[in-house]
């Protein structure tokens, strides 16, 4: 070691008060830095809506079902492919829209928060799909059979969950709360009007699944087009749901036994005046649509060991050529799904330990 005393001119020692002031100064710097961090990570603001708090609301309403998704936990994995006809290739440079096949892993599910809900618990079904392009980029989309979302913001969505939370005493939602919520949220009227007429379908394969949120397609020249998309079923049918607890999975297996099930991927191009930032509003009037190709489902498997189980159907996992819109629900879904995913992947060992049917409420 080089002797470092020589080149360094020693300064006269500090008096004790001087030392204390300087130590306090250091303490202040550290405190400000730690405080800034606590502010940013939400610790100082218990009211801030964080991904964890969104998921907490689901856990509060539905109980914790270890290993399961915190929302739409009852579902079935499906696999197949998307056969693009090339019709959307001039709207988006995404590989998935070039003519040809893209493999798909999907998940058909109920929109409730309980993995043991009866299939008729809600008149809505959901379809999440993951397209894996040849270049490794992916497109994930979580779609629902309703045409519009009840509300347009994550804050309102969380308030809706709170309004329908079960009362700990009765186990049922407080009957005064939902009307109060809907009175304060007129934007929910289109959804309420639709849900009044909606009935639980007897099958997953006869449903239309909608992106609900808007996205933006980007072509090779960088031209942008806002869209919503839908999976429109080839199979038609509006048979009433059977009077049974579970029927969707059996129906799907039966349908697949007779052959692959198909949906057209229909892109609805936004007109200039269409809101892209509010999923509670329908895009009214005439719209140009593009049928981009056919989603073909060839097989199904139980979700507990199916290959969809460990997929987080984050709607902002998008390939180059598809982007999120300014819809605030997209970022919120992405953030909350990440929190749900983190929790449930820590619990996968518990899925095997608790056979589903023994835990029926």
């Amino acid at each position: 070691m080089i002797d470092r005393e020589a080149p360094y001119p020693r300064k006269p020692p500090l008096s004790t008060p001087q030392k204390l002031v300087r130590l306090a100064g250091i303490g202040l710097v550290v405190l400000v830095a730690a405080g800034a961090f606590a502010y940013v990570n939400g610790s100082l603001d218990p009211q801030r809506l964080t991904p964890a708090r969104v998921v907490d609301v689901f856990e509060h309403n539905n109980g914790i079902h270890p290993g399961y998704r915190r929302n739409h936990p009852k579902g079935i994995c499906v696999a197949g492919y998307f056969e693009s006809n090339g019709a959307a290739a001039n709207l988006s440079k995404a590989q998935v829209f070039a003519s040809g096949k893209t493999p798909v892993i999907g998940r058909l599910a109920l929109p409730t928060g309980n993995p043991y809900s009866p299939d008729s618990a809600a008149p809505i079904r959901s379809f999440a799909v993951q397209f894996t392009q040849a270049n490794g980029q992916q497109w994930r989309s979580g779609m629902n059979s309703m045409p519009v979302f009840p509300v347009g913001t994550p804050e309102a969505f969380v308030d809706l969950q709170k309004a329908t939370a079960p009362d700990p005493k009765t186990g049922k939602p407080d009957p005064t709360k939902p009307p109060a919520f809907f009175a304060a949220h007129p934007e929910a009227q289109p959804f309420l009007a639709w849900v009044k007429t909606a009935k639980p379908s007897a099958s997953f394969v006869t449903e239309t699944y909608n992106s609900v949120n808007a996205f933006v397609l980007v072509d090779a020249q960088g031209k942008r087009q806002a869209v919503r998309w839908s999976l429109v079923p080839e199979a038609k049918g509006d048979a009433p749901a059977p009077d049974a607890r579970d029927y969707l999975q059996q129906d799907l297996s039966d349908k697949l036994a007779s052959g692959p099930q198909r949906w057209s991927l229909v892109l609805t191009l936004a007109n200039a005046q269409d809101p892209t930032n509010d999923a509670s509003k329908a895009w009214a009037g005439e719209h140009k649509t593009v049928n981009a190709g056919t989603l073909v489902v060839e097989s199904d498997s139980a979700q507990l060991d199916g290959n969809c189980r460990d997929i987080n159907y984050d709607p902002l996992v998008l390939p180059s050529g598809i982007e999120g819109s300014d819809d605030p629900l997209l970022a919120a879904r992405s953030a909350a799904y990440a929190s749900s995913y983190m929790r449930r992947t820590s619990e996968v060992d518990q899925l095997k330990a608790a056979p589903a049917q023994e835990k029926q409420p």
Binding site: M1, I2, D3, R4, E5, A6, P7, Y8, P9, K11, L14, K19, R22, L23, G25, I26, G27, V29, V30, A33, A34, A36, F37, V40, N41, G42, R48, T50, P51, A52, V54, G136, Q137, Q138, P154, R309, D310, I311, N312, D314, V317, L318, S320, E323, G324, D326, P328, L330, A331, A332, S334, A335, A336, A338, S339, Y341, M342, T345, S346, V348
Partner: protein, 181 residues
């Protein structure tokens, strides 16, 4: 007196301050992003990933610089426990600068997500998709981030202690190329 014996090389100092800025920004971006459901979540996430890879690349350069340039010795009169704390905290900081981006990259891989640095740049996966592995890495990423932040606070407090209380040459050796006064 020859300055190289008391100061870090200009390149080492440049890397230190550049990476200090990046790492602190990164910790705040990470903490802010996991606490947000707004559009902020998305744009912070889109910053977090490329910035993390940039830090990974820079720390490799920095380690090479560290091993190939002169590192000023600590003051001869520094108590042994402080010398030990200095050495261990520096090892820890280097280890975390290297590990955090790798864990982040591995964690996205383990989730089965494409590792996208931008809308079109994709890095290969470095770990096979596996839920339990993801859960482990995701937790490690969080707790090591807190450890990283606490270590940086300690590093900052120690640097200021050297500069303001001990008034030795340690803080100067990273601040400037010439001895004060």
């Amino acid at each position: 007196m020859s300055t190289p014996t008391t100061h870090f090389s200009p390149l080492a100092r440049a890397l230190h301050w550049l990476m200090a800025l990046m790492v602190i920004a990164m910790l705040f971006i990470g903490a802010g992003m996991v606490a947000s459901v707004s559009e902020r979540h998305e744009w912070l996430l889109n910053l977090h990933k490329p910035l993390g890879i940039a830090i990974l690349a820079l720390v490799v350069v920095r380690l090479i610089v560290r091993f190939t340039t002169h590192t000023p010795a600590l003051p001869a009169d520094l108590p042994a426990v402080q010398v030990l704390a200095a050495k261990l905290s520096h090892y820890l900081l280097y280890a975390l600068m290297l590990a955090m981006p790798l864990i982040g990259w591995a964690m996205i891989s383990a989730a089965g997500d494409p590792v996208m640095l931008s809308s079109s740049v994709r890095l290969p996966s470095i770990v096979a998709a596996h839920a339990e592995t993801f859960a482990f890495l995701r937790k490690a990423h969080r707790y090591l981030a807190y450890l990283f932040f606490l270590t940086i606070l300690a590093h900052l407090a120690a640097a200021l202690f050297h500069g303001w209380v001990r008034r030795d040459e340690v803080l100067d050796s990273m601040l400037r190329g010439k001895t004060r006064g």
